[in-house]
């Protein structure tokens, strides 16, 4: 039996662990943490073996498919794209679970925590493995549910409950769009098949969808007088779902609030299981995106804008975890940009973007776990109260600095020397340059460069404020236990060398995603259909372009060192309520005011309240009217019931007389 036959076990084992932990966890030590750890470890081993197998012959992807009902199936698809995601998710999730044993040791609801994280992992794995878009959507919703449960893990805190609600409702907007896209896609495919679908054909499976892209593209809709291809609408709706899940502007508002959960949950959400789902969705349906005119441009612009938009806010946050949250949004913007520039470099964009996703998962999980380690030891996450933590927690500090260098993207262009983040972020920026060159749209490239500068600035600000200098307040800290530092070290190792080691083979591997025995898509032909002009491959840019990301990263480091390390500038003048820029940034562009206070409360809430009040009044009036009429009728009609036999007899006789007359008349007529 080939190892691929066990692929279905990958999501099933954590799901089983969820059930077991949920019911038995309280009786076991550490809240039954051993069950999900063992299950996810097994899943990790299976995924790793499958990935290694797939590396040998990438065309032979693993597919299993079972009929579910009518036109839908449940199935497993492990192609290179899914394989790397699987391995990454199981690996990061495994490390986070091990780390959580130490981190959550003081919490009474440990078993609930481990059960929910196991379900979270299981649903994400099922999302990755889906071979049809419906199953993917179901898992997608499960992921959303688990994020709700975990963000609101400490539901006794009102802020956590609110954050959970916010996350759920915000992603719901995206989910609805995603569902609308699926429905539209289904309707189109149904039309294309003319309603007669041969047995054994599941029209929502990816191979069927990809095979019919040209037909879908041929269907046009008329929106506001413009001819829009259905494929553009579908892909934009899908992208709407990805925007919600992956925290892109303007649906990113839930991500910073998601910090209300345990730090490990933040790590899980930000690194492995949730926010990458949106990027994965776009990568998975990339052939549709590239065949859709303008869709990829939207993806590129929105991604680049999100990257710079979130980075500016990251600079002024004082909360350790919030800085990381905005960093995640910014990096997700990079991933979307990486996919969006597929308009210039074709299917290679999937590899570029996914590579950043994987590396980001490593160093972002590391950053979060380090932050969690600091918070666990010190008990505060306000950076203004920290400082000099490196002396107390050397391992944590070292690993976090590695992660910071990785995030900022340090490395030497043109060689294989560099942190993982450099290895993956650099190609995205280069691709953005190619995209700008071929299409003449320079804005995404400029955004990505400025965002790289800001990235370096905010992460080193965090490092300097937290780990160096003198302690600003008294805190008793200690290095974390081994169950926490060992995952940190492993992740640090990956953040250090993973990018450099796997870069070329990774791209090569992912190129097979859309040409194998399951799907065989002619990407250049589809790009032609979408009206994109594919440029040459990366690596032939001017020297300045190659070195630009490094230059801005070093610049960010220097600025952060000068300002926060040596304190040559008195920040008190800048950081004040009187500085309008600072005020704008610190208040997060007044998003809360705009989205919540104005849009949600004033427009939607008040609007609905008014509408429902009017409707209610209408219904009240109707109900009262009916009851009044009934009562009045009864009051008048009951006068007939006198209770006297004489009256009844009179009525009966009158009735009989009328009946006789009636019968006679009828007889006459007949």
């Amino acid at each position: 039996m080939a190892i691929g036959d066990f692929a279905f076990l990958i999501p099933l084992l954590p799901a089983l662990a969820f059930v077991l932990t949920f019911f038995l966890g309280k009786k076991l030590p550490n809240g039954g943490a051993i069950i999900p750890i063992a299950a996810i470890a097994t899943s990790f081993v299976i995924s790793l073996l499958i990935t290694l197998n797939l590396l040998q012959n990438p065309e032979e992807v693993i597919t299993q498919s079972y009929s579910w009902f009518a036109l839908f199936n449940v199935g497993v698809l492990v192609d290179p794209l899914a394989a790397v995601m699987l391995t990454m998710v199981t690996f990061v999730s495994l490390l986070i679970h091990i780390y959580s044993v130490g981190y959550m040791s003081h919490d009474r609801a440990q078993s609930r925590y481990f059960a929910e994280t196991a379900l979270f992992t299981a649903s994400m794995l099922s999302l990755i493995l889906s071979d049809n878009i419906l199953q993917l959507f179901v898992s997608w919703e499960l992921v959303g549910l688990c994020s709700y449960l975990l963000i609101g893990f400490w539901y006794q805190k009102p802020s956590a409950a609110t954050a959970a609600k916010k996350a759920f409702l915000t992603t719901r907007i995206g989910d609805v769009m995603f569902l609308a896209g699926i429905v539209l896609l289904f309707a189109d495919l149904f039309t294309i098949f003319n309603g007669t679908i041969p047995a054994g054909t599941y029209i929502l499976r990816f191979d069927e969808i990809f095979a019919h892209i040209p037909e879908i593209a041929a269907i046009n809709a008329n929106i506001l007088g413009m001819e829009v291809s259905h494929i553009t609408i579908i892909t934009l709706l899908f992208f709407g779902g990805a925007v919600g899940k992956s925290g892109q502007f303007p649906l990113h508002v839930w991500l910073p609030d998601a910090m209300e959960g345990p730090t490990t949950v933040s790590a899980l959400i930000h690194a492995a299981t949730m926010v990458t789902a949106g990027v994965y969705l776009v990568a998975r349906t990339f052939p549709m995106f590239i065949a859709a005119p303008d869709s990829l441009l939207v993806v590129a612009y929105l991604g680049a804008f999100t990257a710079i938009f979130a980075a500016t806010m990251g600079i002024v946050m004082n909360d350790l975890k919030r800085v990381l949250a905005y960093s995640t949004i910014s990096q997700l913007g990079y991933m979307m940009l990486g996919l969006g520039v597929g308009a210039a470099i074709g299917a290679e964009a999937v590899g570029v973007s996914l590579f950043h996703l994987i590396n980001h998962a490593f160093f972002k999980a590391l950053l979060f776990l380090c932050a969690g380690s600091v918070i666990h030891a010190v008990g505060t996450h306000d950076m203004r109260q920290l400082g000099g933590v490196a002396k107390v927690m050397p391992i944590t500090a070292l690993t976090m600095i590695i992660a910071a260098f990785s995030l900022a993207g340090f490395g030497i262009p043109g060689t294989s020397i560099g942190f993982s983040g450099f290895m993956s972020k650099d190609p995205i920026i280069e691709s953005a340059y190619l995209f700008a060159e071929s299409s003449g749209m320079w804005l995404p490239y400029l955004f990505s460069i400025v965002a790289a500068l800001l990235t370096s600035l905010y992460i080193f600000r965090l490092i300097f404020m937290t780990f160096f200098g003198k302690p600003r307040t008294d805190y008793g800290g200690h290095e974390s236990p081994a169950s926490m530092t060992i995952p940190l070290s492993i992740l640090a190792l990956f953040a250090l060398v993973f990018g450099a080691l796997t870069r070329t083979s990774f791209y090569h591997f992912l190129e097979e995603t859309f040409t194998n025995n399951f799907v065989n898509v002619d990407i250049p032909a589809l790009a032609e259909m979408g009206g994109y002009h594919l440029a040459a491959h990366a690596g032939e840019e001017p020297m300045l372009v190659l070195w630009m990301p490094l230059i801005v990263a070093v610049a960010g480091l220097l600025i952060a060192y000068l300002v926060y390390g040596l304190k040559i500038v008195n920040m008190d003048n800048l950081v004040s309520r009187n500085n309008p820029v600072y005020k704008l940034l610190y208040n997060r562009y007044y998003q809360n005011e705009i989205f919540t206070d104005f849009f949600s409360v004033k427009v939607i809430y008040e609007g609905f309240a008014f509408a429902s009040r009017s409707v209610e009044r209408g219904f009240d009036w109707l109900v009262n009217w009916i009851s009044d009429i009934t009562i009045e009728t009864g009051e008048s009609v009951r006068q007939f019931q006198t209770g006297m036999i004489q009256t009844y007899a009179t009525t009966v006789v009158a009735g009989v007389g009328l009946l006789i007359i009636l019968i006679r008349v009828i007889m006459e007529v007949i």
Binding site: Q641, T642, G643, Q646, A649, T650
Partner: protein
């Protein structure tokens, strides 16, 4: 020879008189008397048809129904007495418990 319609017409008139009495009177005894009138108009019909058909069955049944009317009258007056004992009146207007 008297046509049968006249007998029936007489029965109808008696019946209507009884009906009118039943509908308008309040005293229980008067109402019972009206009921007797209606009953006997039916008996008259029976006898008339029996006679015109040369079949005695109708007349026999007229006798039977007179006997039944006696039963009915006995029960009716007994009920009226019970009502009288309860309410000190046999005016059935004040006895409208069937009312809403």
């Amino acid at each position: 020879m008297i046509p049968v319609e006249l007998y029936i017409g007489l029965a109808v008139i008696i019946f209507t008189i009884g009906l009118y009495g039943f509908m308008t009177q309040r005293s229980g005894i008067r109402m019972l008397m009206s009921v007797e009138l209606m009953l006997n108009s039916a008996n008259l019909n029976l006898v008339a048809f029996s006679s015109y058909n040369a079949d005695l069955t109708g007349q026999v049944f007229a006798l039977y129904s007179i006997a039944l009317a006696a039963c009915e009258a006995a029960i009716g007056f007994a009920i009226l007495m019970a009502i009288f004992r309860m309410k000190d009146t046999i005016n059935l207007d004040s006895f409208n418990v069937l009312r809403w």
